[in-house]
């Protein structure tokens, strides 16, 4: 399980370019930071008000004025900058974030995303997710392909949406799927799975790329 998450995070990291400004959602997406090539200058934004997230401090050495958007104590790298929530979401909404990596409850053929509420079951609120998905230049969903066998990649989301038609890429332990005008295209496949297995784990129609490549973590 931990291996699967790291495999996905490692693959997502390859989507990021030198100089990118990136916002990572909580959970699996935070692992992406560990796989950025060391010669890349990627800046991570924390929507509660800064750019330049650094590693978590040692236990006992926490700075109580410095948390990330997941309420964890973090540090900042040299060259960081603090700002308020209005500026932070100006950055997000204004297209100054090159990529955001988020988890999903459901994602569908049109690139619609649902990740903030299961009515009657779980109502955590959308936090900054709606702004991030609407505002970031590239929206990458990093998640396990299914939820205990239940489809998450659907023909049409059934849960309330986070945003309409904003998802660009879906990375799971099974493969890499691009959202195109023609629909979902399987571009890479984990060699541990067959195309049939991926198709069967996906409710949405999957177009298999003519140039299907092996997925590498």
């Amino acid at each position: 399980m931990a291996d699967i998450k790291h495999f996905i995070a490692k693959r997502v990291a390859k989507e990021l370019k030198d100089g990118d400004v990136v916002n990572l959602g909580i959970g699996l997406p935070t692992l992406v930071a560990d796989y950025i090539p060391s010669d890349y200058d990627v800046t991570f934004q924390s929507e509660n008000g800064f750019v330049g997230i650094g590693p978590a401090p040692e236990k006992g050495k926490e700075d109580v004025d410095l948390i990330n958007a997941g309420a964890q104590y973090v540090s900042v790298k040299p060259g960081s900058a603090f700002f308020d929530s209005a500026v932070s979401f100006g950055i997000i909404r204004g297209g100054h974030v090159d990529a955001t990596v988020l988890g999903a409850l459901q994602v569908d053929e049109e690139g619609n995303l649902a990740n903030w509420i299961i009515p009657g079951v779980m109502v955590p609120g959308m936090g900054g997710a709606m702004d991030l998905v609407s505002g970031a230049k590239k929206v990458i969903i990093a998640m396990q392909h299914t939820n205990k066998g239940k489809h998450k990649i659907l023909k049409k989301c059934t849960l309330p949406l986070t945003a309409e038609k904003e998802v660009d890429l879906i990375v799971t332990e099974m493969g890499v799927i691009e959202v195109t005008n023609e629909g979902l295209v399987l571009k890479e496949i984990n060699s541990e799975y067959t195309v049939e297995e991926v198709v069967s784990a996906t409710e949405a129609h999957l177009i298999i790329s003519d140039d299907l490549k092996p997925m590498e973590g």
């Binding site: 008000g49 955590p124 936090g127 900054g128 309330p160």
Partner: protein, 221 residues
């Protein structure tokens, strides 16, 4: 113009039904001593505007635990189970607002704007009941300003005139909330004399601050 008062004096005019903006993000940047005084005062039916309902034992969650909150306007309530419980039991009404829209609505409330257009929430439940305006072919929601009777802000350093400096990620909603309430109360970790703060690094100019309360402490983990 002495703004330095006791916490009791600072919250004296808050009454049942008052609306209060509370700075902070998961408690970081929230003025705990003002919350504690409000718990003690036992005012109820409050409308609280805050990014989140924090987690039990910290920040606005203390008001929720005492059932003093009638309406909560926030972007995230997932880490405080009591919020979900009171929502489903109908004790507290929760209005969920996307975080960027919440920040911008508060800013608009303070900056005298009648509203703004955002793509955030288009095609989602957030759109319900809102005017959709098309500008140059793109669809936007018209979001309205938010204001409140009071704002609770947390200063890392304040001067006696009321100029505020917020350290690191404690800034978050504090700056904008200080502009959007009739009465702004700042709890501070450190108080300095007028003239001691570099005017270039003031993050909330003194003109926004009505009362200063000393005694805010760094959060103990």
């Amino acid at each position: 113009m002495n703004k330095l008062v006791s916490v009791e004096r600072a919250i004296e005019t808050i009454k049942d039904g008052s609306s209060i903006m509370v700075g902070g993000f998961m408690g970081t940047g929230t003025p705990e001593i003002l919350i504690d005084a409000l718990v003690e005062k036992k005012v109820k039916d409050l409308t609280i505007i805050c990014n989140d309902s924090c987690y039990p034992g910290r920040g606005v969650s203390k008001l929720i635990a005492e059932k003093q909150v009638k309406t909560l306007i926030a972007s995230h309530v997932g880490l405080n189970p009591e919020t979900g419980k009171q929502m489903s039991e109908g004790i507290m009404e929760v209005e969920l607002v996307p975080q960027g829209t919440l920040a911008e609505r508060i800013r608009a409330g303070g900056a005298g704007l009648g509203g703004f257009l955002t793509r955030t929430g288009v095609g989602t439940v957030v759109q319900e009941g809102k005017q959709v305006i098309e500008v140059d072919g793109d669809k936007y929601l018209l979001e309205k300003p938010l204001a409140a009777d009071f704002a609770f802000i947390r200063a890392s350093i304040i001067d006696k005139k009321g100029n505020v400096y917020y350290h690191e990620s404690t800034r978050n909603f504090n700056t904008i909330m200080a502009t959007a309430a009739n009465t702004v109360i700042a709890a501070t970790e450190k108080l300095v004399e007028v003239g001691e703060m570099d005017p270039n690094i003031v993050m909330t100019p003194h003109i926004f601050v009505d009362y200063i309360v000393e005694g805010e402490k760094p959060w103990q983990i």
